[in-house]
Symmetry: C2
Subunit: 369 residues, 2 copies
């Protein structure tokens, strides 16, 4: 498979990942953590895309809290390739800016949109799927989304409803559905033509630019102005001054949902069913499951520590790298220790860890967030 | 109540207290910890006895691992008053040595034997009971034990069977019983004439010396020789050379049990029923109960930390003084953090913490013990 010379990976790396507190912090978000192996999530994201596009074709969009750390972790990228939004404006302006920037560099640019904090098991399959997606996207005003075949009735994800097989081997998208309730999620899984929205999209830069001009007529010209200043001395100032004027809206809500709903099976949005061991590692519990599935410890207890002793312990995730850990008669726990904090929760309740960060934000305990 | 000028408190402070690991260590045993309030257990023990005897009349028997720390914690005591056994020989030789030492200082000495790691709630009641006990002990060849009225069928304690009220207001002891099984313990509590052995005893030094001469005829002369060298240049060397030759036996087994069994209600051992809020704080769970009973937190969760946030947490004991602790959806846990270790267990299983120390001993992980 020959890499497409017009493919540009755009990585969204501005998330905070509060559910990995106390390891994740404002300046050390989930994408900067080595949750799975030696490389951090963003490093893994870049590494598995490098065979598809040379380093100079990557773009990373993040915020000022994370930019310096990201640059340190990605030495192959030039500082110009890592853009820090002056303020958060959700995904549509961020992706739109990338589209307008790329359009100036390469009129045939195919933009690949990637979250920065997911894991993927099968790299070959991943790149094969991407190549196919790039081909479909490059061929016209198409939008390609990688859809993950659901393995459980997950209520934390968005779903894609697909309706018919297209000649290009993908499915037509009928509808994007936000996080469903449990009964709906179960139905989706049973029906079989629903996929998890992976957040990975492929489209030509001009397709995306045109879509933004149509759906966000006020925001698109602002983004074009910012893009026009790129590479000049005025870029930083223009970016800082104009970007806050963009609408605060997600790409799903701004472009994808209106486009998919209109067409009723005739939309130009295609879903590529993807089966490459995707995991968004959305919580400590997901991380525990991920590690257990790889290392298969007898008691399903994972302890990262300097020495440990487990007695009648079962199904725990314990992270306390500098300590000797003794776990006696405990099960289903998540315990994570850092220099300044100690989280104690259960595998069932770890989705509530974000509430701890909310509490810390409210109390302005900024050192801990 | 006038203090008895012949009363000498002898505090046994050689225990290791492994069930408070990781806070307790070889050189920082339970008696050296401030588990209950600002003072350490040994400091509390001395403080509540000081109104009964001036500081110079105290004796502390410990081991070499703990002696320096004990002296630092007890600045009112002279270094001569804190004896470190060259080797552990259980309680009979330790107490016997104290008896022979005191006999040389004061032929009318009344020796009070005290564990160093218990808490007592009602000091006035405690000292009133002690005064009465000293009176009985001083009056003749009597042995007085403070008996705690049992509040539950505890299998971790020794029990005292009392048979009849004596003219002096105490009960005659019929029998000492080692830690019973649960059914037996329940029977003891139901019957009503059984008391927990508090480990607090009162007797004249000559009574104790004579008892040792009778029951431990080989050991008593050794102890007399050591005591005879006290205050001379030869004491340290004599202690180190002769003490290991003593029998390794508890005072209960050597003296109390044979004496009580003989008399059948006519023994000279008296039990003083004691009601002063005694607690031996035998485990993290006991400590949790003790604190909860005092501070009555709504969710029975106790967190000592630099800041904390509890969400749906109930009935936990968490100690991580330097950290911000977040407890989310957890119950019945014990979590204790030190510079080098992290213990995670449950209130139901905290008695197994000693097994962690056993494991560390076996692996020779001496830094952690």
């Amino acid at each position: 498979m020959k890499p497409n010379p017009h493919f540009y990976p755009v990585i969204l790396a501005g998330g905070r990942g509060t559910r990995f507190w106390p390891l994740s912090r404002k300046r050390r978000a989930k994408q900067l953590l080595a949750l799975d192996g030696k490389q951090t999530m963003i490093q893994q994201t870049v590494a598995r895309l490098l065979p598809m596009a040379s380093a100079r074709r990557f773009w990373v969009i993040t915020n000022h809290d994370l930019r310096a750390a990201l640059l340190r972790q990605l030495p192959k990228l030039d500082s110009k390739q890592v853009l820090a939004e002056p303020v958060g404006r959700n995904t549509a302006p961020a992706i739109g800016l990338a589209a307008f920037l790329l359009l100036r560099l390469d009129p045939d640019a195919v933009l690949g949109l990637f979250p920065s904090d997911h894991v993927i098991a099968d790299f070959d399959q991943y790149r094969a799927t991407l190549s196919k997606g790039i081909e479909i996207a490059a061929a016209g005003a198409n939008i390609v989304v990688l859809g993950i075949r659901p393995t459980r009735a997950e209520t934390g994800y968005g779903y894609i409803e697909a309706v018919a097989t297209d000649a290009n081997g993908s499915l037509r998208v009928r509808r994007f559905t936000e996080k469903p309730d449990l009964a709906t999620a179960r139905q989706f899984v049973d029906v079989g033509n629903y996929f998890w929205n992976s957040g990975m999209f492929l489209w030509r830069a001009d397709t995306l630019a045109n879509a933004l001009r149509q759906h966000l007529p006020n925001t698109a010209p602002i983004l074009e102005k910012i893009a026009a200043s790129f590479g000049t001395r005025k870029f930083a100032e223009t970016f800082r001054r104009l970007y806050p004027k963009c609408e605060n809206i997600s790409i799903d809500y701004a472009v994808l949902e209106p486009r998919s709903a209109k067409g009723e099976g005739q939309s130009r949005i295609f879903c590529l069913p993807s089966d490459f061991g995707w995991n968004d590692l959305g919580s400590w519990t997901a991380l525990h499951e991920h590690h257990v599935s790889k290392s298969k410890p007898a008691d399903q207890t994972l302890i990262s520590a300097s020495g440990s002793f487990a007695l009648n312990a079962k199904n725990n995730y314990i992270h306390a790298p500098g300590k000797f850990v003794a776990a006696v008669g405990v099960s289903n726990l998540v315990v994570v220790e850092t220099d300044d904090a100690l989280l104690i929760t259960t595998l069932d309740r770890s989705q509530d860890v974000g509430k701890v960060v909310k509490h810390l934000d409210e109390r302005k305990l900024t050192k801990l967030t």
